[in-house]
C-alpha cells in the first residue's frame, strides 16, 4: 500500500496506474453529484480532470502535506470548482451528498484553483492552434530571440518570423476572447494583480 507522499510523487510523474486508481476511487461520487446538479458526464469528466490538475500543481510545489485522505482532498477541490462554475452560470447547488466529508481548503489552494481555471482555458485554445503556430509561440514565450526563432522555424527572414508570430498570437488571443468562459476570467484580471503566482 503506497503512502500518501509516494502516491503524490507517482501522480506528479504522470503514472497511469496511480491516475487510474484515483479515477476509480473518486470519479463515481463526483459524477453522481454533478449529474444530480444540472451537469452531465462531460462536465463531470472535465471537473474531475481539472481537480487532478490542481492536485498536480500543488504536489509539484513539493510542500503539499495531506492531513486527510487524498480522495477527500480531491473531492474538496472538485466541489470548489463545481460550485464556482455553477455560480458563474447562475445555477445553484441543489443536492448535497449525505456522505460528503468536507475539508477546508487553504487560501493558496483556492488561488491555484482560480489560476488553473484560467490557464486551462488558455491551454485549450493554444492546443487548437496549428503545430506551426504552437511551436512558434512556444519558442517566443521561451524567450528565444527572433534570430533563433527564424532559424528554428526555417523562415526566410526575421521580418517574416515577426509577422507569423503576430498572426499566430492574434489567432490565439481572438479565439480566447470569443470563448464565453473568458468573460468571467476578464473580471478577475481587472481586480487582481497582474501576476498571479500562488
Amino acid at each position: 500500500m503506497h503512502r500518501k507522499a509516494d502516491i503524490l510523487k507517482l501522480l506528479v510523474a504522470g503514472d497511469h496506474a496511480t491516475i487510474s486508481r484515483l479515477y476509480h476511487d473518486c470519479y463515481p461520487a463526483i459524477e453522481q453529484l454533478i449529474l444530480k446538479n444540472t451537469g452531465d458526464t462531460e462536465d463531470a469528466e472535465d471537473v474531475f480532470q481539472e481537480a487532478l490538475v490542481v492536485v498536480y500543481r500543488q504536489a509539484k510545489k513539493g510542500s503539499l502535506v495531506l492531513t486527510c485522505a487524498l480522495s477527500t482532498y480531491i473531492y474538496a477541490i472538485f466541489r470548489n470548482i463545481w460550485l464556482d462554475r455553477l455560480r458563474k452560470s447562475g445555477r445553484t447547488l441543489g443536492f448535497i451528498s449525505e456522505h460528503e466529508q468536507l475539508v477546508d481548503l487553504e487560501s493558496d489552494v483556492l488561488a491555484t484553483i482560480q489560476k488553473n481555471e484560467q490557464y486551462a482555458l488558455y491551454q485549450k485554445h493554444f492546443q487548437n492552434l496549428s503545430e506551426g503556430c504552437r511551436k512558434l509561440l512556444t519558442l517566443f514565450f521561451e524567450a528565444l530571440d527572433m534570430k533563433a526563432i527564424t532559424k528554428a522555424m526555417g523562415f526566410g527572414s526575421e521580418l517574416y518570423a515577426r509577422k507569423r508570430k503576430f498572426q499566430c498570437k492574434e489567432k490565439l488571443v481572438n479565439s480566447i476572447r470569443s470563448d464565453p468562459a473568458y468573460s468571467e476570467i476578464k473580471e478577475g484580471n481587472n481586480s487582481a494583480s497582474d501576476t498571479i503566482n500562488p
Partner: protein
C-alpha cells in the same frame, strides 16, 4: 502594421522590460486609466506562462487518456476464449513476420558516407535567450556542445531533469550519437517522443540518423517514413524524403 500589431508589440516590450523610462511612465499611466488595456496586458502575461506549461498539458492528457480507457472498457464486450486465442495467435504471427523482416533489413554495410552527407548538429537555441531563466548548468552544457566536446556536454546535460524537456533530450541524444553510443542516443530521443511535442520531427530525424550510422537501415527507413507521414510542414520532411530516396 495594424493597430493591433502595434499594441501587441507595445505590450510585449512592456512585459519584457524593454521600454525606456518615458515610455514606461506613459504606458503605466494608460494602464491606470484604460481597463481594457489592463485586461490585455494581464492576458498576454498569463499566456506567456500558460503556454509553456507543457508538463501540466501533458499531465492533463494523461488523465484524459485514463478516463477514455475506463470509458471504453465499460462499453466493450469482453472477448470469449476462442476470440482471445485468435487475437493472441494473430499478434504472434505479426511479431514473427516483423522479426524476420527486421533481420532482413538490418544492414551491416557502413552508411557512413551517407550519414556524413546528411548529418549536421542541431543549432543551439538556448544560449542567448533574452531572459535569465536559463541556469548555469544548461549554459555550460551548451558551451561544450557548441565546441563539439560532447563528453563534457553530456556530463552537464545528464544533471538536468529531462522530463518534459524535449529540446534538451534532443541535444543529449545528438551528443551520444556523436560518441557512437547508439543505445543511449535512442533512449534520449525515444523518451522525449513518448509524449507528443513540438520537436517530434527533429527528434525522429536524429533518431533516423542514429539508425543509419549504426547500420540499421531498416529502422532508419521506418523512422524517415514516419517523419514524412506526420502532419505539418517542415524542412525535416524534405530532408527525410531526400535521405529515404538515397537509401532506396
Amino acid at each position: 502594421m495594424s493597430s493591433e500589431e502595434i499594441q501587441f508589440e507595445q505590450i510585449e516590450r512592456y512585459l519584457a522590460g524593454k521600454m525606456n523610462a518615458d515610455e514606461l511612465q506613459a504606458f503605466e499611466t494608460s494602464l491606470l486609466r484604460d481597463k481594457s488595456l489592463k485586461q490585455e496586458v494581464a492576458l498576454h502575461r498569463q499566456l506567456a506562462e500558460a503556454t509553456i506549461e507543457h508538463d501540466v498539458m501533458d499531465f492533463r492528457a494523461s488523465v484524459n487518456s485514463v478516463m477514455k480507457d475506463a470509458s471504453m472498457l465499460k462499453q466493450s464486450v469482453l472477448p470469449n476464449k476462442i476470440l482471445y486465442l485468435r487475437i493472441v495467435a494473430t499478434v504472434s504471427i505479426i511479431l514473427l513476420i516483423g522479426y524476420g523482416l527486421s533481420r532482413f533489413f538490418t544492414d551491416s554495410v557502413s552508411n557512413q558516407p551517407l550519414f556524413e552527407t546528411y548529418y549536421e548538429p542541431y543549432d543551439d537555441l538556448i544560449t542567448g535567450r533574452s531572459d535569465d531563466r536559463t541556469d548555469d548548468t544548461i549554459l555550460l552544457a551548451m558551451q561544450y556542445y557548441n565546441q563539439a566536446d560532447y563528453s563534457q556536454a553530456i556530463t552537464y546535460l545528464e544533471q538536468i531533469d529531462q522530463h518534459n524537456k524535449p529540446l534538451l533530450s534532443l541535444y543529449l541524444g545528438i551528443c551520444y550519437l556523436n560518441l557512437d553510443d547508439y543505445e543511449k542516443a535512442h533512449m534520449s530521443f525515444d523518451s522525449a517522443l513518448e509524449t507528443d511535442n513540438l520537436f517530434s520531427k527533429e527528434l525522429r530525424w536524429y533518431n533516423a540518423l542514429t539508425y543509419l550510422k549504426e547500420g540499421n537501415t531498416g529502422k532508419a527507413r521506418l523512422t524517415l517514413k514516419r517523419i514524412i507521414n506526420s502532419p505539418g510542414k517542415s524542412g525535416y520532411v524534405t530532408k527525410a524524403q531526400s535521405l529515404l530516396d538515397a537509401l532506396d
